[in-house]
Symmetry: C2
Amino acid sequence: MSISDAARASGLPAKTIRYYEEIGLIHPARDSNGYRSFSDADIHRLAFLNRARGLGFSIGDCRALLGLYDDQGRASEDVKRLASEHLTRIDARIAELQALRATVAGLVHACAGDGRPECPILDDLAEGPVRAHRAQPLT
Amino acid sequence: MSISDAARASGLPAKTIRYYEEIGLIHPARDSNGYRSFSDADIHRLAFLNRARGLGFSIGDCRALLGLYDDQGRASEDVKRLASEHLTRIDARIAELQALRATVAGLVHACAGDGRPECPILDDLAEGPVRAHRAQPLT
DNA sequence: CTTGACCTTCCAGTTACTGGAAGCCTCATA
DNA sequence: TATGAGGCTTCCAGTAACTGGAAGGTCAAG
C-alpha cells in the first residue's frame, strides 16, 4: 500500500504520515525503489493515531497509548489514568476559556461600536486589571 | 527605567519585553551604554499588551488594537469588530472542547481501570469512528 | 521519449515566547 | 586596584505538531 493509499485509508495527510514515521510512531516497510509500503497493521496504527489525536491527546500521549495498545499484558488502569488526566486538562482549559469569554463578552457588550472614538474596550485594556498570567493561543 | 523595572511595572518577563521590541510592538529608547530606557508611555503600552494577551488576543490582534489605541480618530466599531471576532473564536473553541470532553468522559467512564487488560478506551481508539479533522493542542 | 502522477528527502516557516551562552557595564568591597 | 555580583546586551536553539515547497527519482501510458 502506497502512502497516498495509506492517507486515504487512515484519514491522515501523507505529510503527517511521514512525520509520524520520522518521530518513530510507525515503521512502514520500504519497497526496493525506496517507496514506503504500508501493511494493514500500519494502517490500523495510523487510524488509531488519527482518532487519538482527534480526541486531543498529545503526541506523547499517543505514543504511550500505542505502547499500551501493543502490550497485551497492560492494565486498563494505566490507560484510564492517561485518559483521566487528559479529561482534567480539557476541563481546566474549558474553565479558562469560559472565564475569558465572560470578560471579553462584557467588553464587547459595553462598546457602542459606532463611528465615535470612545471605546470601553480600549479603556479597559489601557487601565484595567492585570489578567491571569498568560492566555494560551486559541488554536 | 531599566528593563527589569519595566518588567516589574508591566507584569511581563524581561525576555518577553525584548521580544515585543524585536517584533516592533514597542520602541524603547536606549541609554548611551546601550541599555533600554523605558518611558511611562512604554510601560503603559506593555501593560496594555499584557492585558490584551491575558484576554487571549493574538499578537496580530494586539498589534491592531495598539494601532487603534494610538489613533485618536479611530471608530469604536473597529475595536468592537476585533473583540467580537475574538469572542466568536473563543466560543467555537469552547464548543469544540466540550464535544471532546463528552467523548473522552464517556470513554473514561466505560473503562474499569483495574489490573485487567480489557479496555474500552483502546478498543474505541482502535475501531471507533473517525473524529473531527484535527484537535488543537490544549495549551 | 516524454508527460504526468506518484514518490523521495531536506529545509523553512508557523506561534509566542523561553532558556542559555558569551560577553559588556557598573558598583561595592577587599 | 582587582574582583565579584548583578544586570544588561545579542544571538542561537528549542518548543508542538505539523505544513508548504523545492529538487529530484520512478513508473505506466501514449
